[in-house]
């Protein structure tokens, strides 16, 4: 399959090489277990494979089959047809890292534009070409802040409102270092003030989420001020779509903005591939991990783009590189770039507000159901936590089984004492009817 070799080509090539049979090419290999039997099935033709995958796909029940209010870091947004129609172009997706700029200007300019869009969206000064996802972007932020302080400051403050997966990832990354993580165990009611209390002269970085995992939006100005007073850095992890309406972290002084780019036109695809956003201040550019595209000129005097500052990277610096990242999320950065270009300023604002209004309508309706309460008073974007009269898991289970609704995310999975809390996300994909249907089924819930 996928081999273009004819029998006579193969013959001729072996002859040119000077061996008789294919097997002769593997003479230098250990003979034990050479050409092992793998006990794998025979190959399938394309039509069989298509059928098989269709069969597997249909064993999933998706946001198309169910009414879903599940978010918790991944959102069911509309992916404009233009995005995928461009992503399907072979010139984009069958190229690799643009090491050879003369024949890679498509990728390079698209990434340069992506960097620009992220800078404008976040209010920062420089963006890299992407990280694997939001979680790893934060891990890289931790690493960067640690090195900005020449590894002298050991303390990293993680907000308890930072996505649990992201916090777990940071722990994995730093597990053998001398970095200490604090803050996670603050009460989840804790606001920026409590975080401020933790900042000291040993603090390298404070990581906040915006909106946070519970959907809450806080004003971080005072926190940033306090951190800067202590010469600590502040990283704000964003849902980039929310920045269509919210004050960008650059405006309140963030040093680093990370984000999960999935909400920018990338399908949910059961968890990936997504897009790790990473932006920072110009002064930290040389400390930032990841690829960077810069503008330059070609020999004909034309504007062009190249990978630049690669002395930060593993292929030049090896063990002294800032990070080990090599392949990144190029195609997803392209997707996000197309999405942002297409929506533009007004479209982003429009979709952000649509999410906002729908979520607030849902919250208001749910709050009116006896026994249900909105858990926090803070402003929120498109997601909010609800205190339920009985365990969220039971409610979610009931709604799924009987009403084909995924009611949200059971916060008890990650937070002790929040067993009765459901995290509900509402996007532009949820019609008013769907919201009303959720409210209706929640109202009918036996509150025993």
């Amino acid at each position: 399959m996928f081999l273009p070799h004819t029998d006579s080509d193969r013959e001729a090539m072996l002859r040119t090489i000077g061996v008789e049979r294919m097997e002769d090419l593997f003479q230098s290999l250990p003979t034990a277990n050479l050409f092992p039997n793998l006990s794998l099935p025979d190959g399938l033709t394309e039509m069989e494979a298509q059928g098989e995958l269709q069969h597997i796909a249909s064993a999933n029940e998706t946001a198309q089959d169910l009414v879903s209010f599940l978010g918790a870091g991944v959102y069911n947004h509309y992916c404009p047809s233009v995005v995928d129609s461009i992503l399907r172009r072979g010139e984009f997706y069958t190229a690799y890292t643009p090491y050879q700029p003369e024949i890679s200007q498509g990728t390079l300019q698209a990434i340069f534009e992506y960097q620009s869009l992220i800078v404008n969206l976040t209010g920062m000064e420089a963006s890299n070409a992407s990280h694997y996802d939001g979680a790893t972007a934060i891990a890289e932020a931790v690493n960067m802040a640690y090195h900005v302080h020449r590894t002298k400051r050991k303390k990293i403050i993680l907000s308890p409102g930072l996505h649990p997966h992201h916090r777990e990832t940071v722990h994995t990354y730093i597990q053998d270092s001398s970095i200490q993580i604090v803050g996670e165990n603050l009460s989840i009611e804790a606001g920026p003030e409590e975080i401020i209390n933790l900042i000291d002269q040993d603090t390298a970085l404070v990581v906040m989420q915006y909106p946070d995992f519970f959907g809450r939006i806080y004003d971080f100005s005072a926190l940033v001020e306090a951190a800067h007073a202590a010469k600590a850095l502040v990283a704000v992890h964003v849902n980039p779509l929310a920045l269509g309406m919210l004050t960008p972290p650059g405006d309140f002084g963030a040093d680093i903005v990370t984000g999960e780019g999935q909400s920018l036109g990338i399908p949910m695809s059961y968890g990936g591939p997504y897009l790790g956003i990473f932006a920072t201040r110009s002064k930290y550019v040389r400390k930032m991990a990841g690829r960077l595209v810069g503008e330059t000129t070609d020999s004909k005097g034309q504007r062009g783009y190249v990978l630049t500052l690669s002395t930060r990277e593993q292929h030049i610096r090896r063990e002294r590189a800032i990070s080990n990242i090599c392949s990144n999320q190029g195609l997803l950065a392209l997707a996000a770039g197309i999405y942002m270009s297409l929506l533009g300023k007004n479209g982003l604002r429009q979709v952000a507000e649509l999410n906002y209004h729908k979520a607030h309508y849902a919250a208001q309706k749910i709050a009116a159901i006896p026994g249900f309460e909105i858990a926090f008073e803070s402003p929120f974007f498109n997601e909010f936590a609800v205190r339920c009269p009985r365990p969220a898991a039971e409610i979610a289970d009931h709604l799924l089984t009987h009403h084909d609704i995924i009611a949200g995310y059971d916060l008890g999975q990650d937070y002790d004492g929040m067993e009765n809390h459901l995290l509900i996300a509402v996007t532009e994909m949820n019609s008013r009817e769907e919201i009303d249907y959720l409210v209706e089924t929640l109202s009918e819930e036996p509150h025993a």
Binding site: D9, I17, S28, N33, S39, L40, G43, L44, Q50, Q54, A57, Q64, S68, V82, F92, T94, A95, T97, Q100, P101, E102, I103, G106, A110, Q115, S116, N120, S127, T169, T172, D176, M245, S269, Y270, G271, G272, R291, G294, E295, T296, T297, S299, K300, Q302, G304, V306, Q314, R317, E319, N328, Q329, G330, L331, L334, I338, K345, N346, H357, H360, E428
Partner: protein, 498 residues
């Protein structure tokens, strides 16, 4: 004609995508949290499409021509992969859905683990890592967790052959280990004496790429492994070069303890202009307890007429999660599609023909270019891109000149142990005519290098863009563009749809 940027073509009030007016009552906006200005492009749909369509045409991709970028396995990316990965049953699935509603996806992941295990010989596989380098870090953390679990805390040293890819030392360093370089011997193998000299009780392990980055199968692999194991170390395999040995030799059979796969190389998933990749990691039974969480397992056996129930489980002594959710699922779908289409025989044939193609090129080029380790290679080989009697010519000039013939250049200046390296990996999906044309071009270029060096030094000539000034880019950093100063911002309210 260079393409203007999207900032250049922005105009106030344009919009390429609209949303319906809210079908719910409006909530009041928290004024103090609302952004005040928003300097962002505004473009109509047609202009977005034209912009990116034209940009795409400035790229060389596998779909437009030969791409023998060594170490990257730029094989054909089957179109069916793009179809299956886009099935709504996959794309519309939320990673945190109750597992009962995601049995198709979990089953596919389970099967992918099984296939990778069978191909590599490992006992357990995680699909979570996002790319090769991410897999490396995961693997190294597993190695460290292993030593730690044995109370063996002094093992702080990772050995790396001088031919190793840059990600290997970088990944190792990210976990806090100390990197120590091991020289290669004349035949391109790990120098056994040098290796032995470093094998003491501070040894965490060795990261080895096999076939190595010279495209050579280490002739002493078993001995290398034994030396490391004897010293209490573990052997990490960089699986970037698995494309040479599928169905031919299993890394685990050679004693390798942990290895990452590059699905975006060996398993035909597209490179996406830089990514996404996918870097699953395979380990021996002993190490499986340390795998990152979660992995997929059968949590209820199949009954008579049903499929088993799949679920996500956490390995006992997991190193933790290395990213959010379960890995690059969309890439797994592509790789799975590819594997089931090839089947056992097809996988072996793919590797055989990858090796055939590389040796064929090597045979035709060895009289013209210096091949420092000239023996039967695996799926790639490395030659020198310079000649003593053409002192002004460097590997880069040859690369740029190749563009004039419609070819993507080989990898340049890697591995570091070959001066002016040109690392050529044709992959198995290229036909003989293409390989012959590539050889003809390289032979003509060698001739030009001696008789008309300027033509190389000024190359490329036939491309839309001439040589790029990389020094200028680094000196005079311009990392993003902006709307013009005098750009009149459009009013920030949503447009009325009419």
């Amino acid at each position: 004609m260079p393409e203007p940027t999207i900032y250049d073509i922005s105009s106030p009030g344009r919009q390429g995508m609209y949303y319906p007016d809210p079908d719910v009552p409006l909530a009041s906006l928290p004024d103090s949290l609302i952004r005040k200005d928003f300097p962002f492009p505004e473009i109509s749909e047609i202009d977005v499409v034209r912009h990116y369509t034209r940009l795409s045409q400035l790229n060389h991709g596998v779909d437009t021509g030969f791409y023998p970028l060594g170490s990257c396995t730029m094989k054909y990316n089957p179109k069916i992969n793009e179809e299956t990965a886009r099935m709504p049953g996959f794309t519309q699935l939320h990673p945190l859905q109750p597992f009962e509603t995601a049995q198709g996806a979990l089953g596919l992941m389970y099967e992918t683990q099984e296939w990778l295990k069978a191909i590599s010989g490992f006992d357990a596989v995680t699909l979570q890592p996002a790319a090769g380098a991410h897999g490396e870090m995961t693997g190294v953390l597993i190695m460290k967790a292993y030593h730690r679990s044995r109370g063996d805390n002094k093992r702080i040293k990772m050995l790396l052959p001088d031919s190793a890819h840059g990600t290997n030392p970088a990944s190792s360093a990210m976990t806090g280990l100390k990197s120590v370089q091991i020289l290669s011997d004349e035949r391109g193998n790990v120098d056994l004496a040098a290796l032995r000299a470093e094998c003491d009780d501070t040894l965490a392990g060795l990261m080895i790429t096999n076939p190595n980055t010279l495209g050579l199968f280490d002739e002493n692999l078993e001995e290398v492994v034994k030396i490391v194991h004897d010293a209490g170390g573990l052997v990490y395999g960089d699986g970037a070069n698995l494309n040479a040995i599928m169905g031919i030799s299993r890394p685990a059979d050679s004693g390798i303890d942990v290895m990452h796969f590059n699905l975006h190389k060996t398993f035909s998933t597209p490179h996406g202009g830089g990514g996404p990749g996918s870097g699953p990691v395979g380990v021996t039974a002993e190490l499986s307890q340390f795998l990152p969480s979660p992995i997929v397992d059968i949590i209820e056996d199949a009954d008579d007429d049903g499929a088993p129930l799949y679920g996500l489980v956490t390995p006992e002594n997991t190193i933790g999660r290395v990213k959010s959710f379960h890995g690059h699922f969309g890439i797994l779908v592509r790789a799975f599609t590819y594997m089931i289409m090839l089947g056992e025989k097809g996988l072996r044939q793919a590797s055989e023909h990858a090796v055939l193609n590389a040796n064929y090129l090597q045979a035709l080029l060895r009289d013209t270019y210096k091949i420092p380790h000239d023996r039967i290679c695996m799926h790639e080989f490395v030659m020198e891109g310079h000649w003593e009697d053409a002192p002004g010519i460097h590997a880069l000039d040859i690369s740029k000149r190749l563009m004039d013939f419609g070819f993507h250049p080989p990898t340049n200046y890697f591995p570091l142990i070959v001066p002016e390296a040109l690392m050529i990996e044709p992959t198995e999906t290229e036909n003989k005519e293409t390989l012959d044309a590539f050889v003809d071009a390289l032979i003509q270029i060698a001739d030009e290098a001696h008789n008309n060096p300027e033509i190389l030094q000024n190359a490329p000539h036939n491309t839309l863009f001439g040589r790029m000034d990389e020094v200028q880019a680094a000196r005079n950093l311009v990392l993003c563009c902006w709307l013009p100063e005098d750009y009149e911002e459009s009013a920030p309210q949503p447009l009325i749809l009419d």
